[in-house]
């Protein structure tokens, strides 16, 4: 489902020498698999996640996600591919501050063009957010924000979930809820790639890949 072959990425720096973030890395996540990616800061974990998510073109190497090579697509087609196939969860949640919970979950529908309010409400119930439907993120607890972000990631029924430190800001109970949902997603045949520093999160994954600095 996620296949990165010999992927390298070099960040250009106007103030000094270019920075090699990822060097000739191979990464494979099959359908139904939950892979945790860990390693020291600066080893390229988030860079790999963004490359897999079609947001950061690698300097070299081949990327295939959900059967498509996103960097062979145009920018607009790649955006449509992300909307259709990939869900993102971030440590900082990245909710839209002026939309309430329901609208944040429905936000991906702006890209897909179809609004399924019933699915959004079902996701709210699944994540225990039904009483917070019309609250903006500022009024939510940290756990509720991450559950909202998780529900948004699942709204378009993606094939791949990419999670960057999804439990980094959460208490153990909310972290457990998120990890359970990621496991459940993988169990239903989705592929999960999670960047984490935490042992608890690594234990929830099927496999853990540890990166070292290039």
């Amino acid at each position: 489902m996620i296949q990165l072959d010999h992927v390298s990425h070099q960040y250009r720096s106007p103030e000094g020498p270019d920075v090699l973030a990822v060097d000739q890395t191979d990464l494979h996540v099959k359908a139904g698999e939950f892979l945790a990616l860990r390693g020291p800061s600066g080893c390229g974990k988030t860079t790999l996640l963004l490359i897999a998510g079609g947001l950061l073109r690698p300097t070299s190497g081949e990327v295939t996600v959900a059967g498509k090579q996103p960097y062979h697509l145009s920018q607009e087609a790649r955006a449509a591919f992300r909307a259709e196939s990939i869900g993102f969860v971030f440590q900082q949640f990245h909710l839209v501050p002026y939309l309430d919970v329901l609208d944040n979950i429905l936000a991906p529908s702006a890209a897909s063009g179809t609004t399924d309010r019933q699915r959004a409400e079902a996701l709210m119930r699944e994540f225990g957010l039904e009483t917070r439907a019309h609250h903006t993120p500022a009024a939510l607890s940290t756990g509720e924000r991450q559950r909202t972000a998780m529900a948004r990631a699942l709204y378009n029924d993606p094939q791949v979930l990419l999670a960057d430190e999804p439990t980094g800001n959460l208490d153990p109970d909310n972290a457990a809820i998120i990890l359970e949902r990621l496991q459940a997603f993988a169990a239903k045949g989705g592929a999960v790639l999670m960047v984490t520093h935490e042992d608890q999160a690594c234990r929830a994954a099927d496999k853990t890949l540890t990166l070292s600095k290039p």
Partner: protein
């Protein structure tokens, strides 16, 4: 979910930001609306003033024509009948007539069937000095008043006869010699009583003494002789003097007739001057109004672009700030699949809403300001509404364009890695 949902929710969420942007657009719109209204009102007021002035000039012209018609009808023009051998050069040069003709001529003329003459005044006139008054030079004018024309209905005489023993004194003489009504004086040994004194005329009349014709003839040794016959209010169309001469000389073969300037001409000239003065005033008013309009246009030409540019810059700055505030939001929207043109649409949609609301407020504000600040206002026309409305939306969109494009091109990966 549609893009408009993002636009409206964001506007509601950041109310202060939206209100400031709307205020910026409203100010520029109000300036343009006010300027357009002022210029339109100025043009309307100018038209009204000029129409009024035109009407006044037209009225003055009509009055002039009417007056000319009445004056011409009432006075006609004047002819002096002189002895045929009178040297006209001598008369014009010295103001005196040396030749004479029988007084009987006036009777003959009055009894004839002449149709071109209304009033006949036989006169003698001579320049002399007044020995009893220190030899002051005077013009002695003897008149018997008007001789009625036989075949006409009696008319009110233009000049009454001076009774024997009486004199009428010109303004300058009366003033210099301190002569008043009923003052008794002696002229060439004859006693006279001043019948009246004339007001100042500014002509030779001011040094003239009018006495009875018969007395004048006796004093000058010209019994039954006269110097001239004044024929007043002569009427005829076409070549007037030629016709009158022919008619008069047919009746009085030993005479010549010359035309004298009529008071009507002087009045007509005065009226002409009044008309010219009115037209000059009209021209001055036109120039003044044009200058005023030009000044207002210059002010508007500076104020409106300044307000527009200022508003566009402020709008751009606020949109840029907004884009920077929303970097993470833009990044996540791009990550979940929104296309760059949809992100562009979110920011330009916001600008459009601000532009439309700013236009409405600005136009109303501009009209209200126009009504309060300017004396001359008119109802706004379509241009005064559509142009500011277009400007408002244009300012909002143009000011937001570059920041919105920057937002649409923002690299989501870079932002998402910043945390």
């Amino acid at each position: 979910m549609r893009i408009w949902h993002f636009v409206l929710r964001e506007l509601k969420h950041r109310k202060l930001n939206a209100l400031l942007a709307i205020a910026a657009v409203s100010v520029a719109t109000a300036c343009l609306t006010d300027a357009l209204m002022l210029l339109k009102a100025d043009a309307a007021a100018t038209e009204a003033v000029l129409a009024e002035k035109h009407a006044a000039v037209e009225k003055a012209g009509a009055e002039l024509n009417d007056a000319m018609r009445k004056i011409t009808k009432g006075l006609g023009f004047n002819v002096v009948i002189l002895p045929k051998d009178q040297d006209l050069q001598e008369m014009h040069h010295s103001g005196t007539i040396s030749k004479s003709m029988p007084e009987e001529y006036v009777v003959r003329l009055a009894n004839s069937n002449i149709v071109t003459v209304n009033h006949l005044l036989p006169t003698v006139t001579k320049k002399l000095t007044w020995p009893e008054q220190g030899d002051i030079p005077i013009v002695l004018y003897g008149t018997r008043g008007e001789v009625p024309i036989a075949h006409r209905d009696p008319k009110k005489p233009l000049l009454d006869a001076v009774p024997r023993g009486s004199m009428i004194v010109g303004y300058h003489l009366a003033k210099k010699l301190d002569l008043r009504t009923d003052t008794e004086v002696t002229l060439l040994g004859r006693p006279f009583k001043v019948l009246k004194t004339h007001d100042e005329r500014g002509t030779v009349d001011d040094t003239t003494v009018w006495i009875n014709l018969r007395e004048a003839q006796e004093m000058l040794g010209m019994e039954n002789l006269i110097h001239a016959i004044q024929a007043l209010e002569c009427h005829c169309a076409g070549d007037r003097i030629t016709q009158i001469r022919e008619e008069i000389t047919a009746i009085l073969p030993g005479t010549q007739a010359i035309e004298r300037g009529a008071p009507a001409l002087a009045r007509a000239e005065a009226r002409d001057k009044a008309k010219i003065s009115a037209e000059t005033s009209l021209s001055r008013e036109v120039a003044h109004r044009q200058q005023l309009r030009s000044q207002r246009e210059k002010v508007a030409a500076i104020l409106v672009p300044l307000a527009t540019i200022g508003s566009a810059l402020l709008m751009g700055l606020m949109t840029l700030t907004n884009v920077r505030q929303r970097r993470q939001e833009i990044a996540i929207l791009r990550a979940i699949g929104l296309r760059s043109r949809q992100v562009l649409g979110i920011f330009l949609g916001k600008a459009l809403v601000i532009g439309v609301i700013g236009a409405l407020i600005g136009i109303i504000l501009g009209m209200a300001l126009g009504a309060v600040l300017h004396e001359e206002t008119t109802a706004p026309d379509a241009l005064a509404i559509l142009l500011p409305a277009g400007l408002a939306v244009g300012v909002a969109l143009l000011g937001s364009w570059l920041p919105a494009v920057a937002a649409a091109r923002q690299d989501a990966a870079t932002v998402l890695q910043e945390e």
